[in-house]
Amino acid sequence: MRHVIIGSGVAGIAAIEAIRSIHPSLSGSGDDGEVEIVLVGDDPHGFYSRPGLAYFLTGELHGKALFPRSPEDYQQMNFRFVRGCINSIQREAHSLQFENKTNLSYDKLLIAVGAQALPLEVPGANLEGVLKLDHMEDAKHILNHARRGKTAVVIGGGITALELVEGLRSRGMKVHYLLRGDRYWSNVLDEHESMIVEQRLKEEDVTLQHHAEAIEVMGKNGHANGVRLLNGQTLKCDLVAYAIGIRPRVELAKQAGLAIDKGILVNEYLQTNDSDIYAAGDVAQAYDPMTGRSVIDSLWCPARQQGSVAGLNMAGKRLAYIKSTPFNVTRLAGLTTTIIGTVGRGRDEDLVGIARGDSETWRELPDSIAAQSGFDVNHLRLLVGEKKILGAIVMGDQKLSLPLEKIISESMDISPIRERLLAPNAKVGDVVTEFWESWNSRN
């Protein structure tokens, strides 16, 4: 029996661990009825922490520290790694064809190839020095350019754009951050939260421009040296970094005739419409039996969970993936920020589709009532439903993020404190703390 996993990200690694938890193998050769696992990846660096690239850019750690596993770890996991690009999946023959025309057969296949940055589609976008942040190689490329240049222009929204801004700024570059809309990450953050982030960026001498649409990257000798804006303004720069959203890498699945919407459509068992082919992670659009909808998450934790569930199912279990409350912790302009459940709505002019570190669920549910309290850098926003808290954003002090994660994910009945939460000038943090302590003492 041969399991083949395409993609060396967290979903793929979690799948291998899950399969090996069911089928520990002595030789891994596939002989004598043993289960063989083959991991196919096109990223020359294999498995590393993609979200950690942000801290590599700021210089908080060096690149080698991003690799969680040693060769010995991989040896213990007992799989074969094949570096290469898959050209096509021949479903009837249960075979994969590589770019170099060699073939690899499979019994069960997992597609966990992730997502990729949407391209910047303006004239000059293909010039040297126009950069994205998908992979380790991209991060190295950015640092190489940052070492040689003085001024950067960053285009886009969401977490990745801010990671680019912060990384380039911490490397000593002067940074112009262009926002097409009137504020940062408008479909997840409220006005006050966007203002906190923008204010902190300004304090770090980041030049923010709203309603600024880049229409051309200008260049000299094949290298980017400026950006032209819709309003006629031009900005001189040494590099242009962009993060305008991501797109699940569905090409392979599409060519193979698998069912696709925005991502590869999978049922709650992470199975595609071909029962021998599974999908997990950023490329998968997973069916949620609780809501009856299929959604995309671009988050580390769901990718790991999906990889694990897919692996168990490939190994013969029958386990449903139950989507947990979308949850992410990130750092926005140096401020640790936790986003839980439903917090925003609508679309963001700076993003096309979903961003990395984002979940479609964050913008799903309609009317709810927000209770807010906040100071300069400690800010808390709750979205309060009839009987439960639907979502929360915690910026700065994180003491309440763990309790809120639990209160939201377990749909705790907050009726006893609802009125107090919604009272004018409510001390929301105190009310939540009191509720949490009381719940804890009873459980």
């Binding site: 060096h62 991003l66 690799f67």
Partner: protein, 88 residues
């Protein structure tokens, strides 16, 4: 805190060794490795976070570097029974 301070600062040093151990929340962890990178003893804190296991390690001096450096609030201290108030 200013960005430049954040990136250059030393982690908060605990003046008194904490009585307990470091506990991870795997749901928050993205395996970036800042914890392991900054551990003065060289403990692979990140591997504990992947497995959701407390850092119960004979050489851990509970200095707090990993807790303070983690950008995602994955790690926290938890008191051990031995040192809990009132414990023998």
């Amino acid at each position: 805190m200013a960005l430049k301070d954040l990136f250059k600062r030393d982690a908060y040093k605990h003046t008194v060794m904490y009585s307990g151990h470091v506990v991870p929340d795997p749901a928050r962890c993205v395996q970036c490795g800042i914890c392991t990178y900054n551990c003065p003893i060289g403990i692979d804190v990140r591997a504990h976070a992947w497995q959701g296991l407390p850092v119960i390690h004979s050489q851990c001096i509970t200095c707090g570097e990993c807790v303070a450096r983690c950008p995602r609030g994955v790690l926290r201290f938890e008191q051990t029974d031995l040192f809990r108030k009132g414990a023998g």
